[in-house]
Amino acid sequence: MARLFTQILALGIVTLGAAILFNQTRTYPLPLFGPVEASNGGIRPRSPNERFLSGPQSPGGPAAGINPPGTTGTAGAAESPPPRAALTTKLSCITSTTAKAMWESGEAVFLDARDENEFRKGHVPHAQQLGPKEFREGKPKLLKYLPEEQLYVVYCESSRECAAAEIVAGQMAIYGYRNVRVFRGGWEEWKKAGWPEEKVISESLSPNGVGK
């Protein structure tokens, strides 16, 4: 029994050593020792727009102008699309640590849910601008170029100040995008951490243009 215990302990120590060594030698290591923000501590707090996503739509609510797919104008807003009820459980949030790791690995496409002016002032490098406004007229053009299987990270200023990221994530889920994560800390945390940022300098550049 003691021998078995020793072997298990040895296995644990060896694997831990290998894991740390492997991680630290990666091009973009996961932050084992650095500061980790406590944006949600693994527990997702209730967001302001969950009421919109899960319950009846309140007039003048945060997403009153958003229409379900296939509908336009205010008449369509009264119909509630079938997937809406399930959206609260499908929204998955990530911390800034994870967001950074996903950005570095290039696994995820970042979507900036803030308005165009804020996007121009600064955003996560290679992010595309896609705000709630783009969903008013149905499926945004940008989504035609974004594969549904791809992993997406949506953010706005921060979830304390805006619910745009969660609205966009919810709308994307309606259009069949299942791998969408909400970066709750948003641009505020990204900038605060001093991570790379990108600005739109030329006025002629359209933030919605794919490949620009």
Partner: protein, 164 residues
Amino acid sequence: MRSTGRPRRLFVLIACCTVGGLFLAAGILKLRSLPGFLVAIEGYQLIPSRMAVWLAVWVPWLEIFAGACVVTGIGRRAGGVVLMALLLAFSGAVLSAWARGLDIECGCFAAGGSSKVGPVAVARNLLLLALLASACFYGRLRNAPDSAPQAATGDGEGRRPAAR
């Protein structure tokens, strides 16, 4: 004794190669996408971010080493215990997520896989657990009537047939 020893030896070999190989493959797939595995862990909303990062880094290596132990037979029981502990922990996490109505990826193999949390994932884990337990400990629980197959399958800690 020999007539029962051979089928049992075969069973142990197949069970260990299946379960150990599965964990080896799962660990390698996770290593290829550590951020994806981290996302899967965070999706369960069970542990703080700091712990999730450590688990994302450590668990794939634990799976690889323990899986290799079970397949090769070097420290098979230690590897088996580790894998069983992992399977129990995974089952608990999946059950918890399922009970809370979370519709998230299981994260059992590669990140971005189609496997979701639910009864299928729990049943698969329990099946693997039973297979592993029977392969690694069956002989011991039966007071090792067939210790020879254990030694023959490469487990260096097989009981010696001292009573004979």
